[in-house]
Symmetry: C2
Subunit: 231 residues, 2 copies
Amino acid sequence: MADIVLYDLVGADDRRFSTHCWRVRPAIAHKGLSFETVPVPFTGIRGIRDGSYSTVPVIVDGGTWVHDSWTIAEYLENAYPDAPSLFGGAGGWALTGFVRHWWQSRMHPFAMTMILKDIFDHLLPEDREYFQTSRFKRFNRPIAEVQAGREDRIVEFRDRIEPLRRLLDNQDFLGGADPLYADYLVMGTFVWARKMSPFALVEPGDPVHDWMNRCLDLHGGMARAGAGFDW
Amino acid sequence: MADIVLYDLVGADDRRFSTHCWRVRPAIAHKGLSFETVPVPFTGIRGIRDGSYSTVPVIVDGGTWVHDSWTIAEYLENAYPDAPSLFGGAGGWALTGFVRHWWQSRMHPFAMTMILKDIFDHLLPEDREYFQTSRFKRFNRPIAEVQAGREDRIVEFRDRIEPLRRLLDNQDFLGGADPLYADYLVMGTFVWARKMSPFALVEPGDPVHDWMNRCLDLHGGMARAGAGFDW
């Protein structure tokens, strides 16, 4: 029996495509723990436990339920203090918060505008109506319109990622010589995008692309496995 | 006699306005060390030591000369390992590099376009020609033209700073409950701007403005002293 159960978003062809679940998977492995997943479509999330969760990831560690990727990362760090750290000390913990807010405010939502229609195309059939309706509400436009013009917007995305490019020109991971949760946090978006879209957010020759490949190799190459796109 | 000598950029009315020197000053104090400054105008930098330095800060610690704010921060951390850490551990050290590249690639140069003419107006007379010529080369336009339109660009600046705003809504400093070098690194730009320009990069009510004021109070309020603007 695995140490941890992870409720994991699933799309067509068993694609496990949740950004936030892909932050948690390598974090669990980083702590030396094993896990098994329970695949859940968007429309199945309310069926977890007592129906109180509206998003995944949700994990069960022994009898303990924990929800939300950041809460889970902090939970793992506190619950397994003797396993390799996800933050690399108090300063790293605080500054991972900065990386998190940078990525969540300026990068991930921007990336989403470029692959939203591709995500839709690779959902399970039972999720399509929910996705279309909820994303229309969020973006105030049909999903195909949101995605349109991505060939232009990608230039701005690659400008915004410049600080990461400069950093990764000098060190292998955000965490330094080895990955920390800050790496998993950013990596989640790239795994999500590669599962669902052929549109390359970064290209070969970019230090961020090299870093992405290093991340894909981590923990037995877990993020390379299964259906998806290779860019 | 002070522990450390700091060669420090000087403008009109003894304004000490170098961003990079303002990263180093609180870092020295953070380590519990004292320092005295040698004021140097731009056109005096080649007069330091053997003339090999083209920028400040330069410090002398005993017989050791160290140049460049990041190199100095790492030097201080290594030379004084038992004093309070500037990075908060290995993870914090690595991720401070990320904050540094974010700030240097996306934020500080952008801020500079908004106060360039104001900087010129508060230089020592002997620096004016050098500044005008060198900045014309860098920006390919006269400095007044670079600064023009800042009332529009400030909106984008405040958008870009959003990750910091979100972080500082939940913690007092980038470093967590207490400041680390990541705070000094970002703060340097605000001290520089307040020394030279009445143009507010952030406004009251913004969590970043509150944080700026907490930083200004640090180490005896050193960054509040002297000529400048209060915003």
